[in-house]
Amino acid sequence: MSLWKIALRSLQYRRLASGLTALSISLGVALVVGVMVIHAVVDQSFKRSAQGYDLIVGAKGSRLELVLSTVYHLGKPIGKVPYDYFLELTEGRFAPEVDLAVPCCLGDNYQGYRVVGTTPDMFNELEYRDGEKYRFQAGENFGWGEYYDAVIGATVARKTGLKVGDTFQPGHGETAEQGEKHSPFTVAGILAPTGTPNDRALFVNIEGFWEIHAHGHYDEEQPAEGEPSSQQHAAEEHAAEEHAADAAGRPDPAESGGAGDSHAGAGDAHSHAPQAHDHGEPQLERHVTAILVRTNTKRMTRAMALPKIINQEADAQAVMPAEEITRLFEGIVGNIQKVLLVFAVLIVIVAGIGMMVSIYNSMSERRHEIAVMRALGARRMTVMSIILLESILLSLGGGALGLLLGHGLVGLLAPSIMENTGVVVHALQFQPIELVLIPGLIAMASVVGYLPALIAYRTEVADSLSE
């Protein structure tokens, strides 16, 4: 019979007190696990969300807000940059340093989910995670000429019930309550879940986005004399593009007229650039909220200087999203997480002290039992070890229960986290730091078990036997 078994039997004998003590430890551990897992997953997700591009170019203003509104669909967009500036990146003076530029227009929502005007490059060229291209669970990406087509994120599809072929009308503003309804867009594709904020957004063709903002309300939209309506036009463009695609194996922007491929005339940059669509408004009036820029790795030195050059000018700013997010985490989120972690650890410590009190209180009624063990030949160190093992078993039992509870809690919260943040969390998402929990608990158990163990050590056999 090992000392472990002796300690376990003693705990079983006081199962109510032992169970409550272990439960208090498990609650602390569950909180620690919950905080650690959710923080680590959110941290990874945030840092991974801006993948596939190096820079975000947008209007001057808060760098963090530009990143949050563009990448995470949080907060309000800070402003607009002229479309000409986008062309500077794809065809103009910055083109040699730019491998890909994807425009984003913000300002609309559908049932509270952000509507982003962009180009098909968003899903054709960018990755949502290292080496992970966007995939479609239904339908496909919208084409360059399909102005009123859209791609929606997996969460949006699930929450709104939109399917491929359905239409939706974005409302103006960032929240569901705001704004009047725009022209409808047709769902061309539904993204497979990515675990990024894009699961919670709808992406419409930027041409359509511009058009609904140029013409205002859907009902107000009137085609110019002798010109088809924008939707008709879009359909025609789409047909033209399909025709070109059939002929050349890919869309031919020159023929489509509504969307262009700028890489032919933009040096190294191969980005597609939407062309000014002739509806009476000049190209100069077009704006974008942000531009996702993948720099040209073949011109690394100049590409690295690009943000500095852009930032020195008055037109726009260039921010590195990874840098901003790291700053956000280190500055605010990291501190909040540290505070939560400190609280959770304090709960474990308080539970540990509770465990010490529980064992300590039991010692007065166990003096006789310990004296009997000593009379049977147990050494002082043996009885001390038994008490310490009891403390360790309680901690480990509480810790194991806490791990289960913590991960169960994460599993329970996962759908809500996914819905509200787009971050995919799994109950069985273990973090390496959890490995520290077990030795940490053993160390704590040894410390808090020491005092009762010392009482066991000092128990005088002859005196206690006669009690």
Binding site: S2, R9, S10, A375, L376, G377, A378, T382
Partner: protein, 224 residues
Amino acid sequence: MLELRQVTKSFTLPDGSPLHVLDIEHFEAKAGEQVVIVGQSGCGKTTLLHVIAGICRPDTGRVLIDGWDVPVLSEADRDQFRAAKIGYVFQTFNLLPAFSALENVMIGMTFADGRADRDRARMLLERVGLNHRLTHKPAQLSVGEQQRVAVARALANRPKVLLADEPTANIDTGNQQQVIDMLRGACEDENVVLLLVTHSPEVAGQFERVERLEEINRVLVKRS
């Protein structure tokens, strides 16, 4: 096998004055011998057993068991010696409440050499008629059964000396004889010195050698 020479033991009273309890010039028991110690309450019977078991050290003198001089051993060695060479049956049984009858017998083996011989523990319990009570906790056993478990536990490590401190004081008459018979039979079988403290003339009357502590303890002789 068991020999006490010039053993004295005293305790310090709260006022600082000494209370002399034992002063035994010589006491000896041969292997397999069964001795009853009788005496009035407070005459030092339990202290004598504690000194022999190494639970407490005498102030002076030697306690020789199986060639070992117990008082000169360190406390840890005395514990080890006690686990290996001494069996102890208490008046109040002192079974550990968290453990089954079988585990109560095995736990003493664990303290002796870290290994518990389950077969021997089972055999000892069968010998005291408790083969059907192996997994029962002390609270589930009758008083007589508890003392029989205590007897099995005392014999677990094949001791050289078995000390029984009024083993029948808390059990009914029917069980008293059973326990005495078990103790005597087991000690005979395993050639163990039995030192049995009792107040009962009926129990004492069954033994060939009965020692009155008042006669061998010079503290008491002086008082009288």
